[in-house]
Symmetry: C2
Subunit: 435 residues, 2 copies
């Protein structure tokens, strides 16, 4: 009998939907201690700039420097990090970067314009952001793939200057992260982190230029700081725990499904792996595979806790029912582990990314398939999209009205403005009328 604790549910049970909702629920608690600390740090960085950033970096990261300039890494250091990598790692990073770049080239928005018969021309002008800040966590969660996924779309969009911040507690640097910065052409790198790094990017300091948008993952302090500076600058999103939903018809290999669930669960204890399967026997096989494979995993403790707390193996009646449930979950990652997977794509309305068929495992998308691995979490795929080139571009409406156009449109605008009680609006249109 299977031993590993993980929920076994039946979608036909009367209380299933409320059980599911409870399983999905995740409240990112507001923590007053974090709020207060972040508020103070941002205030200090805003008022004293470099002085505050240097002081917090001394306090939190143990780096004792005389000035902010000493916290900037020269480009040569990034390139020597790249050169020092084993060839196989360097090549893997290069292949991944090139595939991500090629995919994101296709997302680039273009300006357009059209003319009307009376000479009026309307359009939409697309421009890149001037300057973007990229937050990269230090320590255990410092991932070179995250540098690729955030920096490449910014560069493809044509962002003028890309500034990376990465804390190096105790001075310890991650060679793979620096190499990824070199490959993607990050313009400047500062070894700072936490709320002080977010504040420095949002407000600018004597040394660090103010950016227009901040992207990249971080801990609770970083997330709260991003929330607070939003408006002064753009931000990407405040992500929740990572999730995968696998829909299976019992075809394929139970071990593959088990390992795909592990890959999600190994991120942290809050990560969520759910299987929806029409075949009760296959669910048993997956559970057995979990039992068999779990002891072999270096991160088995995290995996076990994640599966026990937030995982589920769910028996469904049909693939139609599985898709209905999937649309309710709106998962970050969805694997269609099906014999005829393509036929089911159109049944899915909400998901960050759909991995189609048994060969399309999430790990390939995490690193090198090409599409972005920064995806909407916590059911936000109902209304938001993967990070993309378009997040580093913006649109300006172009309204180029001819004299003839102003005659026609001016009368309409005048009537509607008077209807709204905005007489100056009406008069400014009427002044352009020739008759």
């Amino acid at each position: 009998m299977s031993q590993t604790p993980i929920r076994r549910l039946d979608a036909r049970a009367p209380e299933f939907m409320s059980t599911l909702d409870a399983l999905l629920a995740f409240a990112s608690e507001a923590d007053e201690r974090i709020d207060a600390a972040v508020s103070e740090i941002l205030r200090a960085v805003r008022s004293t700039g470099d002085v505050a950033v240097v002081e917090y970096t001394r306090r939190f990261d143990g780096l004792d420097v005389a000035s902010m300039a000493q916290l900037e890494l020269p480009q040569a250091e990034l390139h020597s990090a790249l050169d020092s990598l084993p060839l196989v790692q360097r090549e893997a990073l290069m292949v991944a970067a090139e595939r991500v770049r090629a995919y994101h080239e296709r997302q680039k928005l273009e300006s357009w314009e059209f003319a009307e018969a009376d000479g009026t021309r309307l359009g939409q002008k697309v421009t890149a952001l001037d300057r973007v800040g990229l937050y990269v966590p230090g320590g255990r969660a410092s991932y070179p793939s995250s540098v690729l996924m955030n920096a490449i779309p910014a560069k493809v969009a044509g962002v003028g200057e890309l500034i990376m911040v990465v804390p190096t507690p105790g001075g310890e640097k991650n060679a793979l992260v620096l190499a990824a910065a070199a490959i993607t052409g990050v313009d400047r790198v500062f070894t700072i982190g936490g709320a002080q790094a977010v504040g420095a990017l949002a407000y600018g300091t004597q040394t660090i230029p103010q950016v227009d948008k901040i992207v990249g993952p971080g801990n609770a302090y970083v997330a709260e700081a991003k929330r607070r500076v939003f408006g002064t600058v753009g931000i990407d999103m405040v992500a929740g725990p990572s999730e995968v939903l696998i829909i299976s018809d019992g075809s394929g290999h139970a071990e593959w499904v088990a390992m795909d669930m592990f890959a999600q669960a190994e991120h942290d204890e809050l990560a969520q792996s759910i299987l929806l399967c029409t075949d009760a026997g296959f669910i048993d096989a997956v559970h057995a595979a979990i039992d068999r494979l779990l002891p072999t995993m270096p991160r088995r403790e995290t995996i076990a806790k994640s599966l026990a707390n937030r995982g589920a193996l769910i028996h469904v009646d049909s693939l139609e029912q599985a898709c209905t449930i999937a649309n309710r979950i709106a998962p970050e990652h969805l694997e269609l582990a099906l014999e005829d997977a393509e036929a089911w794509i159109d049944h899915i309305r909400h998901a960050g990314a759909i991995f189609v068929g048994h060969w399309a495992v999430e790990a390939l998308g995490d690193y090198c398939a090409g599409p972005n691995h920064v995806l909407p979490t916590m059911r936000s795929a109902r209304f938001s999209s993967p990070l993309g080139t378009y997040d580093f571009q913006k649109r300006t409406s172009i309204i180029n009205i001819s004299q003839a156009g102003a005659q026609h449109l001016g009368k309409v605008a005048s009537i509607l403005a008077h209807g709204e009680g905005l007489q100056a609006h009406a008069r400014s249109a009427e002044m352009r009328l020739k008759d």
Copy 2:
């Protein structure tokens, strides 16, 4: 001599940039009283649904009804509001709606996919949001044009159900707003408002279905409620005061410029109208026109306060300098009131909308030119875009990897996953390797 109080600045003055920054600064103060009230209202709506909404609507809007159902307007009432309008107003609304629709059709995102040599297919699937809530303010700021600008892009995107909320304090309804709802095909209308309406849309009640995104302007309570429900649902933006920047070379009519500044200033005392002009004599003429025209305006008190508090007439050296300043301001609305306006479009990197030439007055864009009048305020045009069809669509990455593709990509993913210490990621890729 000109009498109307408005700043006169010279861009050549040494302290000009800091004066400009102070003029642009606008702190939307956090108000603890509003925060606490909104927090309580949202909690009540979340826990008791219709009961809370009905009670708050009784308390705040003076509507005494027995059940939520009585707060829904039947479609017939929307259509009879449309039928009851004077013909000239009905036709103006129709023309505006059709032009807005035609422009927004061009913004529609389409799905795409491409194949690689080994059979791997990658793409991006675009879908509309299922259900959207549209907040429309009651009372003085209840604008039919706002219904058109928010509802039409949602409908063009293909949103399944569009639910409008509009408070009707004391039962007073705005016929133009209901007519605009009829024209744009709004699916359901509830006469509720404030934080309770935002909560009802975000969480759903027994009567009001939960939406996926909430758009539309509102007062400080509505803005705070939207900020708080963000994450549970998407929101458009929390807008600041409206602004116009006019760049003039002294060509055109001083009275047109003065009235265009009034049109912005009449919105409210915090609205901002700024002129940048290379011709000192023309600035004098604009100031004189302001003196002459102001007494004729019904909303002259608001206009005068807005111009005195936040307006400015600024003498610049050159149009190049004007564009540099414009890019720093990143205005919501930019009028290029220039002889050769088109030549200067490419000098502008940051603006919500650019009105090109003397005939392209902002009021036409506010009502009927076609582009959206919901634009980024408070310098956020540096990183964000006008409301558009794309705000009601979302993207899903499609990752369809062939068996051959999994061999090639799996090796790359495995190397990178091991580099990040994520062994289950690596194993899930390696399990698909055939050799």
